[in-house]
């Protein structure tokens, strides 16, 4: 069946069964490869995207359930999000495979909580696995970016 999706502000038509996970529509139909497959059961967070601003695991989001919801993927951050600059500044990635999901979870956190505490970071980020163990740099980069976000908001 043909389904219309709004992804990163652009309307896209895709041919997919309604029960197909959004992850595989993004990847196999649209070849938007920034969103990663890690577990398929919402345990690792590598596939995190935003649906109407909320972080969701796209591997457990049937494409037929999205409707008119606005989808934002890592590509939608445009490379200019303060978190992305902070990720580079702190050399957060190692293998890098989980980082799209980490950044999407962190972006949702900062949007809701501009100055997150350690407990806020634990709560928002513990669904995103990093087998390379870049956790302390992820935490530092979020805190650093939260300062930058505050400055941007003032300007």
């Amino acid at each position: 069946m043909s389904i219309e999706l709004e992804i990163n502000g652009v309307k896209r038509q895709v041919a997919a069964e309604a029960d197909t996970p959004l992850l595989w529509v993004l990847r196999d139909e649209l070849h938007m490869t920034g969103t990663k497959y890690g577990c398929g059961v919402a345990q690792c967070g590598a596939c995190t995207v935003h649906l109407d601003g909320q972080p969701v695991r796209s591997c457990q989001t049937p494409v037929g359930s999205v409707g008119a919801g606005k989808i934002t993927t890592i590509e939608g951050l445009g490379g200019t999000h303060p978190l992305q600059a902070s990720w580079v500044k702190h050399d957060v990635p190692q293998c890098g495979y989980c980082q799209s999901g980490q950044i999407m979870s962190a972006a949702a956190l900062l949007a809701a909580t501009p100055k997150p505490t350690d407990a806020d970071i634990d709560a928002a980020m513990s669904g995103n696995l990093c087998r390379c163990g870049a956790y302390q740099r992820i935490r530092a980069a979020i805190k650093d970016a939260s300062g930058e976000l505050a400055v941007t908001a003032k300007a």
Binding site: D28, G40, C44, V88, C132, I138
Partner: protein
Amino acid sequence: MYIAPEKTRTPSGGQGASRRELIVGAALVGGSLLVGCSPADIMGAGAPKTDFGAFGPFIKIDADGAVTVMNKHQEMGQGNHAGLSAIVAEEMDADWSTVKVQHAAANAKVYANSLMGVQGTGGSTAIANSWMQLRTAGATARAMFVQAAADAWKVPAAEVTVKDGVVSHASGKSAQFGDLLADAAKVTPPKSVKLKDPKDFTLIGTERVRRKDSLAKATGQARYTQDVYLPDMLTAVVAHAPRFGGKVKSFDDTAARKVPGVVDVFAIATGVAVVANGVYAARKGREALKVEWDDAKAESRSSAEMLADYHRIARGELTPSDDKWAPFTTKGDATGQFDGTDVLHATYDFPYLAHATMEPMNCVAQVDGSKCKLTYGAQGHSLDQMAAAMVVVNLPGAIEIETLFAGGSFGRRSSWDSDYVVEAVQIAKHVGRFRPVKLVWTREDDMTAGHYRPMAHHAVAVKVGKDGYPAAWRHRVVVQSFAKASPMMASMMVKNNVDSTTVEGTAGSPYLAATPVVDAQVFTPHSPVTTLWWRSVGATHTAPVMEHTIDQLAARAKIDPVEYRRELYRRAGEAGARHLAVLNLAVEKAGWGTLEDGWTRGVAVHESFGSVVANVCEAKVIDGEPRVRKVTVAVDCGIAIAPNQIAAQMEGGTCYGLSAALFGQVTLDKGRPQQTNFDTYRVLRQNEAPQVETWIVPSAHPPSGVGEPGTPVIMASLPNALFAATGKPVSSFPLVKA
């Protein structure tokens, strides 16, 4: 008697040597008809003739003067893109900010790992084996630019200087690499070049050496195997036998073929392949498939039964006919030494561990007749080329490999049997016509496919002298050997029936060097369950065994565990010198002694892959589970090229080891793995990760690796911290029981 090579301080370290031997073995067997050829010649046989340009196979220079370094290794997170390109930039005096790096093609003739003989990444050797090679390449390119400038400006070459990609002369003349490129490319490369004195390094060892791939990885633009989409590409999944050693008896694909998007279903050596348009259709096709399995030769025991067998073997109550006890360190007469009351007995159990890389195994293959191209996160290039060549019947060097980033490996992507690569090639061969096929393993495929860190059991008895220190040490290790799983590997990696990867870290331990009488032996029972190197390999069990035993001995002698180690390192002499230095640095930076609120400190020190690491961790049991809040690491890895990335590897290695120590285990029920995904194979999460602080021992020695050596130390310091709190020794892993 086996003496581990670590103490000779070869850049390869113990495991590097093992892997080198393994791959040389592979090459020799594969090329047994080509007597007289080097392994690189054999693995490179059939490689296309390539013009690498004026500056050789490691350096490309664009018209604008931008330098690109070709990385012959796999960048799987360990940061060698940064470290290797920094070595070139340093000797070339290139502008580091514009230096680029990319993965090189597979070609053993030019890109062999000089510590392995053929192309491959492992044993924490990437920096160590490239050190002189890339310094020479960079210095040679620099000399060519200097000569070109000297000729153009008619000044002596000795008066020409280079800094940040700008070539200058005191007369005021200056030029960019790009300006001189055409002339420099015509200069005959000098036969020998003078390398910098390390004290003159301006880039190496500084905070400026940072990753080159962080932006690509922070924007979703870095390309992994999973991200390959080629025209007309198919996606394949495979129904694998539920038990190790199982085979397809029969299958019914009627329903599978009716699934929309499914293109073909066929048997391959390891199961039944379902080929489809996209992952979702392929998976649905596999779900609809009915397969009957032949388990006649499959593992049918539970892991608990296997471990019980290991205990009986260690006690001498069971001796399976497929192996015999092999001594690996023997000193003095151990007869009757361990019967008295002055003996400490300790046993340890270690489960199977999955690597659980974030990107499950996958590979894109294209085959047309004997022509074959692979696009994936290659780590064992030459071994994979040989394995693929055997499927398509070609020379190994003719197998083209385009290397992409790997979403983690920890050893998994370089498997001795090239398992997932061979699957992809078999499927692409069946599909034919060079049509691209992406083999996708689901998380469940990946986690149940074995190649685990082997299950292990250690039984230790130490006779304590009147001074409280070891007088005699008996050590029994029961562990599967992956080297012995293949006759080819066994022929090269196993000496006197000892697979060095099963005992490294006990063999070569400074504690055994400090003990007058030693009787250490290993037994390697067979199972169809496949095992493999797993970040830091043998040290994953030998480090916790040696270090936790030392803490128990220190407690028995009522001596502080730091002081106890210092004394043993002194007794060990040269074998303990670097251990003593990292121990002292870690303790100095971490502090030592009693903490508040029930937190306790634990210390451990271990050498692997030529590097020595100590750490002090702070731990406490909270809500029934051990937590670690801080880890202070000291590392001696020779000359530190990229301090920021050394720290990253100590942070990551510590988390990887901590995850395994706390939670990691694959258990079998009637031969079937019980953990299939992250809901049952628990791994460390953000809220459980400690703060890791890294201190580097200044060194003038050639660099050794950092990818693995940080991992095993936390697996030892954490049990020691818990022992300090409770007085109860740890005897089995993981610490958190499911």
